[in-house]
Amino acid sequence: MASILVFGESDDAGLTAPTLEMLGAASRLSGDLGGGVALALIGTALADAASAAGPAGADTVYTADSESFASYQTDSYLPVAQGIVEQDSPSVVLMSQSSMGRDLAPRLATRLGTAAIMDSLGLEVDGDRVKATRSCYGGNARQVVTVQTDPQVITVRPKSQDPLEADDARSPDVIAVDVAEPTLRARTTGKEQAESEGIRLEDAEIVVSGGRGLGGPEAFADLESLAGVLTAAVGSSRAACDLGWYPPSQQVGLTGTVVSPTLYVAIAISGASQHMAGCGGSKNIVAINKDPDAPIFSFSRFGIVDDYKKVLPALEAAFAEALD
């Protein structure tokens, strides 16, 4: 019996980074709550991922391994997830604020007679409750909330928590869950890969991002060229995506991808809260904007006040020289 059950996700490379981060958070919280940390994995070919869960902080691993779980589907994942929670009866259920967590958490919570807090940025124990701090009003405000019913379902924003140092000495109990064939009322008929090439936004150490102030789609070619020098990913504000200047998959912001790279270079981005909700977690923000009063500067560590058209070529040359 665990105090915290983490619904993890895995891909070809094993457990995903948000899963490791949640296990780290769960280990810290379980110290105050008492009880252990369990990881639930639903998917196919989970053996490697399951064995990596111990070093990452899990005491128990539930695996629901079936071809029918190859891709996330509400109807197929929900009964299995419900079964695991009922088997484990945790006081807290954590999921990542991912495509899966977003969809599964509220339905699972409702089925369990409880509620879900979405997209938490910070977690702390208060008695038997976990207080979650989350962003609301498009990033303009923060609220601190608790779930008053059990289990407390919470989704966690990627990169908001730190993973544990891997400890290979730990090996968890692995429990394979019985899988019943669910009735599917919805089925996946295909998948389209996003158009973007190169480094994935959420994985990049450096992100170069452009906004409406670029004035047109052509400018993204210059951003890509700078990104090439920096080995960075290219992002875009929602305004620029909505104008069709850059693919929606590269949108950084509240409703796009949330990134927290070491360095976020915001070019001709004003810094609306909607956008800051997607990049505010970056370790360092550098802003290039010709408007000295642009809000982006109040979030930035360094800034250049100038027209990006002039700065960009110079900057690319300077970086190229420095990194050579």
Partner: protein
């Protein structure tokens, strides 16, 4: 094909940060001077999706439900102006202070009261609390299949084909009806209402429903029935002090920035 869309009236999410103020003691957002509340933009897109389904199917209705104080009428009226058929306003003091759960509970009762339609559509999240759970809770309460965060919705015979936004692209999903959908901003801009429809919508009767009409006890809804409790609401402060890199030419500024990044060991 009959559709119900659930919408919410919220403070304008385009309120400039400088005008956004929070009353921390009351845990409330203060209305900004001269800025009217609006229908949550994702909900307006949900109405757009519903109208397109109605157009494509050639018949059926698009009905609107909104739970909230008097101002919720405006969200309903806006949806009617866009082309929806009837509006229902869940209005009761008992609903006040509710969370996603109590709102979804009341909405699901109202939907059952009106008859479960072929498709139920929500915005992916209300742009005030940004939780994004009401659609899924209603789907669960009504035991319907659901697909969330959609950028496209198409009618194919009796079923619905949708494109769902996921981390690395899009998933195409086919759902049987009745089902629940939530619409994301990638769906595209909602239509701008025609003046004639705005005027017709202004005259149109909106049906009000109370908790009692829906067979709900005051203890089940509003703050009494809530499962999530708020402890604080505040505005985040940024503690970063920006260092503006000065220089006489773009080259100098660029070099200065690279230097600064190096000294700060960021590069």
């Amino acid at each position: 094909m009959d559709v119900i869309v659930c919408v919410k009236q919220i403070p304008d999410p385009e309120t400039p940060a400088a005008a956004f103020k929070v009353d921390e003691a009351a845990m409330q957002v203060l209305p900004a001077q001269g800025i009217s509340p609006v229908i949550s933009p994702f909900d307006a897109q949900a109405v757009e999706a519903a109208l397109r389904i109605k157009d494509a199917s050639g018949d059926g209705t698009v009905n609107i439900i909104s739970l909230g104080p008097d101002s919720a009428r405006d969200a309903i009226k806006h949806s009617l102006a866009m082309g929806a058929d009837e509006g229902y306003h869940l209005k009761d003091d008992a609903f006040e202070g509710g969370d996603a759960w109590t709102i979804a509970l009341a909405l699901s009762k109202a939907i059952q009261h009106l008859g479960v339609p072929d498709v139920l559509i929500f915005g992916r999240q209300a742009a005030d609390w940004d939780q994004g759970t009401v659609g899924s809770i209603v789907a669960e309460l009504l035991d319907l299949p659901s697909a969330t965060v959609l950028r496209a919705v198409e009618l194919s015979g009796d079923s619905i084909t949708v494109s769902r936004v996921v981390a690395d692209g899009f998933e195409n999903i086919e759902l049987s009806t009745p089902c629940v959908l939530t619409i994301s901003n990638e769906f595209g801009d909602p239509r701008y209402p025609q003046l004639r429809q705005i005027m017709q919508a202004a005259r149109k009767q909106v049906t009000e429903l109370t908790a009692a009409d829906l067979g709900l006890d005051a203890s089940e809804v509003g703050s009494a029935g809530s499962r999530i409790q708020m402890h604080a609401l505040f505005q985040p402060t940024s503690d970063v002090e920006v260092e503006i890199i000065e220089g006489d030419s773009p080259e100098e500024k660029a070099a200065g920035l690279v230097n600064a990044l190096r000294e700060a060991k960021i590069l």
